[in-house]
């Protein structure tokens, strides 16, 4: 999806060529909010730096990362990594109050930093943290925010951000612009943009951006954090191999076939919306517009028709193998390989064949 950035040409409605208010024209630069949790930067932040680099180059401005965190967070190391992914500079706000994400202090800090340094574009990952923060900061800044964008471009006529996103469950795309307000904010889901190549020699500036925060002013207290390792929360977005099932698999018992194949391949299990709505798979395994966007190296779609709502979540996969009894199923319009057949029959055979292949490789 992100491979072929076509400039979104907005329909002229008389307000296209627009002289920005001088106060707004002072907003310069493209910013990416670098999200981290428990010592790890969310990869979506690097994906956004890759995309932000293109926007900044088109505008002829600098690309900056913005990092908020506590004294225990390796913010300088994160900043150095941000440089290797394309950031010219990184703003860092450090405070004990910013240890561990909480909406209130993060909203305050990001609002303050934006108001001080005035970027024209601010991008965040459409993660739970990014969406929680973006929705809040857009309100405190009273500016426009476009959620879940799949394509970002610069409108050549007015240098504004043209953010394209699916709407109505992916049936339509719309391009949204924030003309008279700055910064222009957008969120992008993990895996929608490709990961940029890292340039290990690249370095850049770091700018301390102190914000006064007092713990006593913050009402919400973080009592504890239960990491997902302790639970079985699915990690679909960054899985290399996904075995997904749809309505075509029939009865709930048949979904065991997905799990069997996934186990042999070291894959994650996913599903289309009807499967999640029927409670056969948990919501964190839903692939599609209302679920996760994925781009694994291999996506096996078993009994999935490939409706647009599912397609938008997985069409960036490297190789898609689709198995469906209906030769006219839309999934065959965009899969890499298609098999017209009953997944309920083919899956067990595929599991057995994969197991045999592994055994052979090990023996050999």
């Amino acid at each position: 999806m992100s491979e072929a950035p076509k400039p979104a040409a907005p329909a002229a409605r008389g307000r296209k060529k627009l002289e920005l208010d001088p106060r707004l024209a002072a907003y310069k630069g493209v910013w990416v909010f670098i999200e981290h949790e428990r010592g790890t930067v969310h990869p979506v932040s690097w994906e956004l730096l890759g995309e932000g680099r293109k926007l900044a180059d088109k505008l002829g401005v600098e690309l900056a990362g913005v990092l908020l965190g506590g004294p225990g967070d390796p913010l300088d190391a994160f900043a150095a990594t941000a440089h290797t992914y394309g950031a010219d500079l990184v703003y860092i706000t450090r405070s004990p109050v910013l240890a561990g994400y909480r909406n209130e202090p993060y909203t305050k800090a990001l609002t303050a930093v934006v108001n001080q340094f005035q970027p024209e574009i601010l991008l965040l990952g459409a993660t739970v943290q990014g969406r929680d923060l973006a929705g809040s900061v857009a309100t405190t800044l009273a500016t426009g925010l476009t959620a879940d964008c799949t394509e970002l471009a610069i409108d050549p006529d007015n240098r504004s951000l043209a953010a394209t996103r699916p709407t109505f469950g992916g049936s339509l795309l719309c391009t949204i612009q924030t003309l008279n307000y700055r910064p222009q904010m957008a969120t992008v889901r993990p895996r929608v943009m490709s990961m940029p190549a890292q340039q290990p020699e690249r370095s850049g500036r770091v700018l301390e951006a102190p914000v006064e925060l007092v713990e006593d002013d913050i009402i919400a207290k973080l009592l504890s954090y239960i990491p997902d390792d302790a639970t079985d929360q699915a990690q679909l977005a960054y899985a290399d191999v996904i075995v997904a099932g749809g309505r075509g698999l029939g009865k709930p018992e048949n979904f065991k076939l997905l799990w069997d194949l996934a186990e042999v391949l070291g894959a994650e299990v996913g599903g289309s919306r009807p499967v999640i709505q029927n409670g056969i798979l948990s919501a964190d395994r839903q692939v599609g517009q209302t679920g996760k966007t994925v781009r694994p190296k291999l996506y096996i779609a078993a009994g999935i028709s490939g409706a647009i709502q599912h397609r938008v979540g997985m069409e960036a996969s490297d190789v898609i193998i689709a198995i469906n009894t209906d030769p006219k199923a839309p999934i065959f319009d965009f899969a890499t390989y298609g098999i017209v057949g009953d997944a309920v029959q083919i899956l067990p055979a595929l599991t057995a064949a994969c197991r045999a292949r592994l055994a052979m490789k090990r023996a050999g």
Partner: protein, 281 residues
């Protein structure tokens, strides 16, 4: 305890079709439903009412026919319903929507203070997840999004403790009332409304507010005028030009089909094949 649940009537997107020529949404015959994510929040609010007593008010901003969504919510057990409808709200983006809703909530709170506000995690038509946080910021409510479980509600101490989904884990957060909560999907199951409930809901009085009733005076902050974002283009996704290469399975057994799939990967995608099969079990 007074809980307000904000809901939205949306077209059932599973049944939406796009006109192939004009690229417009064909709304005819598409049923309007309560945004499915809102139901998790409504059910959670009703459970709190069952446990602690009090009152649940539902509010929606939308066209007059959004009354159906409110009646549905009443049938599930909400006590009062407010329809916020005015032509001045038309064309609102999320910032303008949160402005109008926040003002209406202020108005509700003046008559009867609000302890908790619930909104859906996001809608299925807009998918933005921005209105809840927007309302919370405007009313200075403690924002708790993606809540998986309410651990404790202490009405006397005015505190709430929740489990909130975070990236890679769950946060246990304790904060003060009033708070705004968005529930994660699948956290509960909406109760069943009986025929009696539905008849009661159909006869229930319903409050209809226009912008003046809601106490909205600055119309530059609502509707199209109050919306920083502009939709500049709407179009259908461009179909990918390359259809799947169909594997010929004529007369083959299931085992042969399975081998054909694996051999295809081996022949055409050697690195992937290597990653899949060159690893230890």
């Amino acid at each position: 305890m007074h809980i307000v649940v904000c809901i939205k009537q949306v077209p059932d997107s599973a049944q939406i079709r796009v006109h192939p020529v004009t690229n417009t949404i064909m709304r005819q015959g598409v049923p309007a439903i309560i945004n499915p994510y809102d139901l998790f929040s409504l059910e959670e609010a009703l459970r709190l009412k069952d446990q602690f007593g009090g009152k649940v008010t539902v509010i929606t901003m939308g066209p007059p026919q959004a009354e159906d969504a409110l009646r549905k919510a009443l049938s599930f057990g909400a006590d009062e319903a407010i329809l916020l409808t005015d032509r001045a709200f038309a064309g609102a983006d999320t910032l303008a929507t949160s402005c109008a809703l926040a003002q209406a909530l202020r108005q509700i709170g003046e008559k009867e203070p609000v302890d908790l506000v619930f909104t859906g995690k996001q809608t299925i038509d807009g998918d933005t997840a921005q209105v809840g946080p927007g309302v919370a910021k405007r009313l200075d409510l403690q924002l708790l999004t993606y809540v998986a479980k309410i651990d404790e509600l202490d009405l006397a101490g005015r505190t709430i403790t929740v489990q909130r989904r975070a990236e890679g884990g769950v946060q246990v957060l304790k904060t003060r009332l009033p708070a705004l909560i968005t529930m994660l999907e699948g956290t509960n199951e909406m109760r069943f409304a009986t025929m009696t409930d539905m008849f009661r809901a159909a006869r229930s009085p319903l409050t209809v507010w226009n912008k003046d009733d809601a106490g909205i005076t600055d119309i530059s902050k609502i509707g199209l005028k109050g919306s920083p974002t502009v939709v500049s283009k709407v179009f259908a996704p461009k179909p990918k030009s390359v259809p799947a290469q169909m594997l010929d399975i004529g007369g083959k057994s299931q085992t042969e089909i399975a081998d054909l799939i694996i051999d295809t990967l081996s022949a055409k995608h050697a690195p992937l094949y290597g990653e899949l099969f060159d690893r230890a079990l």
